[in-house]
Amino acid sequence: MMVDLGDYAVPVISAYISSIVILTVLIWASLSRSAKVKRELEEFESKRKSNG
């Protein structure tokens, strides 16, 4: 199933691809920083507990 985009195939597809790339980068960056900070905080808290 492919739609006929006519003369404007390149702009339309590139608009979709670039938007999806930007969104993906943003989501990936948010998730990875979230995971990193969460891990660091957990490490810190467990260290504190073991130290009393």
Partner: protein, 246 residues
Amino acid sequence: MSEKRSLWEYANPRKFMGLSGTLLPWVAISGGALLLIGLIWGFFFTPDDYRQGSTVKIIYLHVPSALMAINAWFMMLVASLIWLIRRHHVSALAARAAAPVGVAMTVIALVTGAIWGQPMWGTWWVWDPRLTSFLILFLFYLGYIALWSAIENDDTAADLTSVLAIVGSVFAVLSRYAVNFWNQGLHQGASLSMDKEENVADIFYYPLLVAIAAFILIFVALVLLRTRTEIRARQLRAYMARERMQ
């Protein structure tokens, strides 16, 4: 549970972490699903516009992202005011968390606008009032983020960026007016505008609504996620600061 509960309770970081943790997956999943539906509907199952051809399909990305680029700034403004008036830390951190999402939305709006403009105007960039306004909005976001990251003390940074958000909002509105004025006569009123109502017939309108809803939900999900990260990072810095003192 008969005691009166106020909305402000969720400004307590711990309460916020609880609530946002529950909400986040639902918002994220529904946002992602709606985006998929909206974009597939728009891309595969809508006809070409009789003047713009298939480039009309770009509106499903351009209009929602442009809308969210402005709304993200507006949300930051409201969050900044709440911080300045009521001193809720979550509010300040939410404003900080929203800024990069707003930048991404602005960039998507600019890129899709430029790509749409290329076949329409024959050039990648025109100093069209609308595009120019978004470029200025982009600069405001850059300055806002740069100021946040330049200041070490969290409360000072929150205060300064809040004042910047308020002053910036006034100047952003002023710029919008100025840019409209500046470009009259230089550029013939775009005979084709993606945003003009007459161009958006029902058949384009419904998938567009779905895409807008999707972008709103994705924005909310990302802001929730990033605010949670900022709260944790803040907690971590507070631990570190105390460690150093002992």
